[in-house]
């Protein structure tokens, strides 16, 4: 028996922002603007973090620039009670879900407190070991299904992550159990210095879903509406008990891998420039302007609002840091529900040690 699979790319907005109206998802002006603004906000926060990092105010982080459409187009389909399980580059998705900018910055500045997940949030903290969050997402989806909650889990990861065993194990289980789970693979063409073609020989990453009997879809990841449409479908199917989907978003990492990285060692500026012409934000701006949903004045006003937010967030983060700087003992917190005797003793020893000059 012969079966077939597609390696076609779903695209709705072209690089000029012209929409293929036959494919347009049901996105009203309000949602469109909300998404556009989230993309812009994420881009500006990214720029601010880069600036802060370069001047030594925060540590290393992974910029999102170029991947805003892939993240926002996907995450915009989640409801509050749904779960997001990110990797480490999902600042756009995290901001959308309500992580305060100041919180991101506090984390960047190296404070454990920056990792705090709000009591009513259903999102996971970032996962740094590549692909290890995928089994967590499967566990969450299993739990939701077990509880009968109409909850969907969405997890994000990169092209490089598809090479890890954890990707494989989680995909297999999710398909087997028909879990309410959407796998968003942001193929940004690089895993640090390793290009997509040297990560795997499969033509697309989407086709990897075939190994699990799971639907896999390839979309233009710099096309907000294509990502939105594909994920809308996947989320609906997940919520309806129809199982998981793998969505490969073809996008690009416009910036350094992290601020510790120097891409000039391994990729050409031309490649970056070619992708700049496919910028995910520009496209939506053109489209929204064309559609009459926004004008330059509105954009300008929004940019100012964001600038202000970011300034305040950094101020807030600095205040937090100042408060936290006198609290080294916080390192003993949150490891166990109740500190073990060893941890208690060490905490006590350290407290006295710090106090010794005063004694």
């Amino acid at each position: 028996m012969k079966s077939e699979f597609s390696t076609e790319v779903l695209r709705i907005l072209d690089t000029e922002g012209r929409a293929d109206t036959s494919l347009l998802p049901d996105v009203d002006d309000e949602l469109l603007l909300q998404m556009l603004k989230a993309m812009i906000r994420a881009r500006r926060v990214d720029e601010k973090r880069l600036e802060l990092q370069r001047r030594g105010d925060i540590g290393t982080f992974a910029p999102v620039k170029g991947q805003e459409a892939a993240q926002i187009g996907a995450i915009a389909n989640l409801q509050k009670n749904d779960w997001m399980i990110p990797a480490f580059r999902e600042s756009a998705a995290m901001l959308w879900r309500g992580t305060p900018i100041s919180q991101l910055l506090l984390y960047d500045a190296g404070y454990n407190e920056g990792g705090l997940i709000d009591g009513d949030s259903h999102d996971f903290p970032i996962a740094i070991p590549v692909a290890t969050q995928l089994p967590h997402a499967a566990g969450i989806a299993y739990a939701a299904k077990y509880r009968g909650d109409a909850v969907v889990a969405m997890t994000f990861f990169g092209d490089g992550a598809t090479s890890e065993g954890d990707f494989h194990e989680a995909m297999n289980f999710a398909a087997l159990q028909q879990l309410p789970l959407v796998f968003i693979c942001q193929n940004n063409h690089w895993a640090i210095s390793v290009p997509r073609e040297r990560q795997t020989r499969s033509r697309t990453l989407a086709q990897k879903a075939l190994a699990y009997g799971m639907p896999g879809l390839l979309v233009d990841g710099n096309d907000l509406l294509a990502v939105y449409a594909a994920c809308e479908d996947a989320v609906e199917r997940a919520r309806g008990g129809k199982g998981p989907t793998l969505i490969e978003c073809d996008t690009y990492r416009m910036e350094v891998h992290t601020t510790a990285d120097d891409p000039s060692r391994y990729r050409d500026q031309e490649e970056v420039e070619a992708w700049a012409a496919r910028d995910p934000i520009d496209r939506v701006v053109s489209y929204a302007r064309e559609r009459g949903a926004i004008d330059d004045a509105a954009i300008e006003a929004f940019e100012q609002e964001v600038e202000e937010d970011i300034r305040n967030a950094w101020k807030e983060a600095c205040q937090r840091m100042a408060e936290l700087d006198g609290t080294p003992l916080a390192m003993f917190e949150h490891l166990y529900a109740e500190a073990t005797p060893a941890v208690q003793a060490q905490r006590e020893w350290y407290r006295r040690y710090l106090d010794r000059s005063g004694e």
């Binding site: 705090l116 997940i117 290890t132 089994p135 566990g139 969450i140 077990y146």
Partner: protein, 331 residues
Amino acid sequence: MAELNMVEAINLALREALQEDDSVLVFGEDVGVDGGVFRVTDGLIEEFGEDRVFDTPLAESLIVGTAVGMAAYGLKPVCELQFSGFSYEAFHQIESHAARLRWRSQGRYPMPLVIRMPYGGGGRALEHHSESREVYFAHTPGLKTVIPSSPRSARAMLAGAIRDPDPVIFMEPKRLYRAFREEVPEEPECIPPGTAAVLRPGEDATLVSYGAMMQPTLEAAGVLEAECDIHCEVIDLRSLSPLDTDCIAASSAKTGHIAIVHEAPKTYGPGAEVVATINERSFYYLKKPVRRIAGFDVIIPLFAREKAYLPDSERIVHEVLAMLEIEKKEG
């Protein structure tokens, strides 16, 4: 009251937990229809259904990784790794997530999960089925690691592990699975991680052990008393982490002669920490160097020679007498 072996006792604890709390799930390889390769989960799938008791694909990282996700969601996963020798496939999920998510999320996602795994030698098993590497877990901040030594303690300690709000590695001495039966009371018992037990009082020397090695240790204490009039205090650590250093220190202060018995390799083994604890807390009571009676620093041999590898009561008696500088006619 019933006389149970350890397999039955653990099965009972699982059953009680599943009955008591519908957030408890039991899963792993072959734990469902098969009831586990040692029958520890026998009958659970029939009683609780395959949503709560299920077979996973053959993938250890998945098993622990999904447990992490479930725990974050508010469930209490009790997963099984078929042998501790295959826990390394999941080690990154254990170290990087199970042990850390509470901490990483600043308390938002506690990890009340239990990872059960049989460990240890003496079962005439294949390679990778007989190791004792509890240090990997005991040294990992964020985990708790416990090992029972009898049916009754197994049932109570598993209850304690499942109720514990933190991730617990529950290592089962498979050599004891069917080795003997013990009265297990009707009413539930619960031993939380962190407390050792004095199994036998004594004043001449302290023998510290846990898990499968409790048996030869107790036997040795019997021989030493019967044949040499040496009264050993015998401590079952039960919990390697948290370690009950108070219990060790109290006995060390009393006897001044301490031996620690384990089947894990000696170097960087659990005994090193016991020695270090005594060095810190009971140094001035020590009459002799603490003795480590341990597995050798090699891979436990295939089963024809595993007895030669494993400490037994004879070796323990020999070493304790050597520590006490007492000659005993042997052979």
